[in-house]
């Protein structure tokens, strides 16, 4: 019942996008996201949409997975659309009782939904096409220049690695606790929301206690394996840029530059 968390989860594959350096994917997606937020006319929109579409096609991900990310966030899209449509003042198009829809509102609503949809589509690409462990290594490498400003880059990356490692373990433990308490008559799915929330308490207390005990054991085990922070640490699989990485970064940067230039035409 708890294994259904799959939004943006890694889908193994062998596309060009899967093989790119994780840093390229993060930088590329950031550039694409800025392009999507920055376009100010239909030419700019076309450029950003073309980039997003190409990335999706190159990823060779099943369409169901790609649309799945949109589907799970449809409520956000609908609410944004309605708010924009009803709350923007301007020339009246239609009146539905107390609600008024303006021409400007319709345009703004379509525009914002297009932007959001493109953003959602592109934002999940790195996590869908990169194993979490590689993505973490990529993020560590990208933020490591900020170490001089006091950003604990290695520590953040290690925390992510450990969190990823322990999510399945804690889910398994939660299932055990749920079964144990069900067998003693506890109900987790019935009753009013207040009762339901209260019934979760006996689940979370042992789960938290267990997590703290695990953290303590893990710290001892890590120190026993000579872990002493990020200094002097090497990595078995060092990240390396290939020709494809430079091309992808070049293309996304060109699109970003194009979109920004089009604002001033």
């Amino acid at each position: 019942m708890l294994s259904g968390i799959s939004l943006g989860q890694y889908i193994p594959g062998d596309s060009l996008l899967h093989r790119l350096d994780p840093r390229t994917k993060v930088i590329g997606v950031l550039a694409a996201a800025v392009s999507i937020l920055a376009f100010a006319n239909w030419q700019g929109f076309l450029l950003a949409a073309l980039l997003t579409l190409t990335a999706l096609l190159v990823s060779k991900l099943p369409p169901g997975i790609i649309l799945g990310s949109l589907k799970s966030l449809w409520l956000l899209l609908v609410i944004t659309f309605l708010l924009q449509a009803f709350l923007t003042p301007g020339t009246l198009l239609a009146v539905l009782g107390p609600l008024k829809i303006s021409r400007e509102g319709m345009f703004a609503a379509v525009e914002i939904v297009l932007r959001l949809a493109l953003l959602i589509l592109i934002a999940f690409l790195p996590t869908l096409t990169t194993p979490p462990i590689k993505l973490t290594a990529g993020l560590e490498s990208i933020i490591s220049p900020l170490r001089r400003l006091g950003v604990p880059a290695h520590e953040l990356a290690m925390m992510m690695t450990l969190a990823l490692r322990f999510i399945p373990t804690l889910l398994q433990e939660a299932e055990v606790v749920i079964s144990a308490q069900r067998s003693r008559g506890a109900g987790f799915t019935t009753g009013s929301p207040a009762r339901w929330a209260r019934s979760l308490l006996p689940l979370f207390v042992p789960l938290f206690a267990g997590a703290l005990r695990r953290a303590n054991d893990l710290a001892v085990a890590m120190e026993s394996r000579c872990y002493r922070g990020g200094a002097n640490r090497t990595r078995m699989n060092a990240l390396k840029f290939s020709a494809a990485d430079y091309v992808v970064i070049g293309v996304t940067m060109a699109v970003l530059a194009g979109v920004i230039a089009l604002r001033f035409v």
Binding site: T169, R214, D217, C226, R233, M236
Partner: protein
């Protein structure tokens, strides 16, 4: 085999020493672990055996006395990391010592911490996964492994630092019988073929049978120490401490009490069977 790897001299350890309620876990321990030896430290719960294990790799510092690992004193801070590299520790709970969501990345962790170049790390990871029989799981997620396999991964995770000694703190207590056999077989193989010193901390006396030497702890002191046959001959002493004899020894002891002169060398059920077979042939 006579070279001393870990020397423990008049060791005392007190938890919460600064408070009035300090708890004395170990007192007056003198012990030598020889290079290449398979040593079992046995004792009931609360006898101080896990504490002793943690003093071997400088996770704990002695309250009194000394622990010297390969000539290095664990009290000197500069020695700590070399001691931890030389003395690899494996703990009880297989889940709580795996750091990565990928088997080979986890095996690499210790070597990466030593700052070894990437090629060397890859070489050692491939080698240790082969030694522990996990090569085929290199790109698996650890939570999908069985308990025995997880403990073997924990062993691989320390072997990658090329330690001279493995200290295992009740590594089989959370495993099923199949996982237990699998792990013991791996330990014996590493000890025999790779000459790795093995210190196995356990309360299962069945595992002590396989050792070169058994040290029995009780209330923070060494109660008895010697080869398994000698230790197991002290049936009353072991019973007084609260340690249960392995089944084969229980049977042998019962038979002896009823007047059958069985030799002291009988340690396992196989020894017992072989003895009876020979006896039957003679008669």
């Amino acid at each position: 085999m006579d070279e001393v790897f870990i020397a423990v001299k008049d060791l005392t350890y007190i938890y919460n020493r600064d408070n009035a309620g300090g708890y004395r876990a170990l007192s007056g321990i003198d012990l030598e672990v020889k290079a290449g030896e398979f040593l079992v430290i046995a004792g009931p719960n609360g006898s101080g055996k896990s504490t002793l294990a943690r003093l071997f790799n400088a996770m704990l510092k002695p309250s009194g006395g000394r622990v010297i690992v390969a000539g290095m004193d664990t009290m000197i801070p500069e020695n700590v990391w070399e001691i931890r590299r030389r003395v690899g520790m494996v703990f009880q709970n297989p889940d709580n010592q795996i750091v990565s969501s990928l088997v080979e990345e986890d095996a690499a962790f210790g070597a990466e911490n030593l700052g070894l170049p990437a090629e060397e790390v890859q070489k050692r990871v491939a080698e240790t996964l082969r030694l522990t029989g996990l090569s085929q799981y290199a790109s698996h997620a650890p939570h999908l492994l069985s308990g025995g396999q997880k403990q073997k991964l924990a062993i691989a995770g320390v072997l990658v630092m090329r330690p001279s000694c493995l200290v295992l703190d009740e590594p089989t207590s959370m495993l099923d019988p199949a996982g237990r056999d699998e792990l013991m077989e791996t330990l014996i193989r590493l000890n025999r073929t790779m000459k790795v010193t093995v210190v196995l901390v356990t309360h299962f006396m069945e595992e002590a049978v396989l050792a070169d030497r058994v040290v029995v702890l009780s209330d923070g002191r060494i109660a008895i120490s010697g080869p398994p046959a000698m230790v197991f001959a002290e049936v009353e002493l072991l019973a007084g401490i609260g340690l249960k004899l392995p089944a084969a020894l229980e049977i042998a002891h019962g038979l002896r009490k009823r007047g059958f002169p069985l030799p002291q060398e009988i340690l396992t059920i196989y020894d017992l069977l072989a003895y009876f077979k020979n006896k039957a042939l003679e008669d």
